[in-house]
Amino acid sequence: MQRVTRDVLVQKAISLLSAGTVDRVLGWKAGEFSYDVTPYVFKDAEALKADFVFDDFCGANFSKYLVKECGKSEGKVLVFLKPCDTYSFNQLLTEHRFDREKVYAVGIPCDGMADITKIREKAEGISEITAEGDGFCVKTLYDGDVKLTKEEALAERCLNCKSQKHVAYDELLGEEGEVIDSGRFTGVEALEAMTPDERFAFWKGELSRCIRCNACRDVCPACTCEKCVFDNPKSGVENKAIADSFEEKMFHIIRAFHVAGRCTDCGECSRVCPQNIPLHLLNRKFIKDINGFYGDYQAGEEAYSRAPLVNYTTEDIEPADAVKKGDGENA
């Protein structure tokens, strides 16, 4: 269950539409199944009443949709933003990717979103999922009803939520939360503690499953390039041609590097990866290194802040020392 209900959001949307503040609403709509909620642009109250959805499966971060949606009409678009989404919102503003004047942002509290992959691990043949108390009741084809606590179904990014605080909005529904320390770097630290051989084996196991669907890039609010390097057939990694270690690493290193310093750790890439590759472990390595080398920096916390890779000091750490510090040798 979420603290704000669907009806409250629908009411808000309808009142903003009828007041003329906005002329369309970026929201969630049911997909083929109850759990694959899908982003949708609503244009009138009827559609909102009939199809608007807000439940534990509304993980999609709407910030990136603003890039394309903003230019589509003269009026403003209403967007609902969870705390983590507001960081991406700020980061996109920083990069001048959409027109702030064309958006009306409503911050909504979030109690953590469920990840269908987690539920699938525990319940096979899902036919229906309903919220029950503080968890879920999953009807399955083979095992009858499976009960899950919310924690068991929570998305990875929500288990490691970095903030319950909205950093950008025009209006806030509910109470403001706080920035939290959820120990999101423990996964990175565990890898750093391994030997290079173990790390290589770990990443080979993970990255070799990549089918190069590009979903991680397509969903990422930091990946809004109109021409992406990976669409170039000459990149050699535009599709998965051969399973060698280079091709896998090239894509993943470059994708993560392109968003280094700009990735807000919104968690969308890991959420959408059909192969469950822990992409956050790459992104967070960069975030952790940036914090360690150049001082704490949270992308998106403040709009128009200067990202660490377009900045420098004359006293920056040398790469050779950085590598040592990176694995905690002389941290």
Binding site: P196, S245, F246, D289, F293, T314, A322, D327
Partner: protein
Amino acid sequence: MSMNEFKPKIVAFCCNWCSYAGADLAGNNRLSYPADVKIIRVPCSCRVNPMFILRAFQKGADGVIICGCHPGDCHYTSGNYYTRRRMALLFSMLDYLGIERERTRLEWVSAAEGAKFSQTMNEFVEAVTALGENKRLEDLRCKE
């Protein structure tokens, strides 16, 4: 190729204003460095996109070194400061993926440092020779 005669292929990105001139000076002074170091001249060390480095490994390099003007001496004022940040993060990431950290290096070599250029290259080649062939970032499609 047997291991005894393994000669690493090294790609050295050298900035036009300092390190490339440093390499020139090394040549003029008849200071030697291994012939397997292939120099690629770039306008500034900052021109080296991380993709270039991975691409070099893909095409068969066993080690990649980037040389630029000393901090504070960049012909374009601040290019090498950005290089320093990028490479710190990139090298650390390569290490995180289990790729030998000795295969990549960043060095500051001025136009007056012919001796440093030759010494740096000799040391780097030695370190990469000890590691052997680049296996962890090779692209089988690019093998002869």
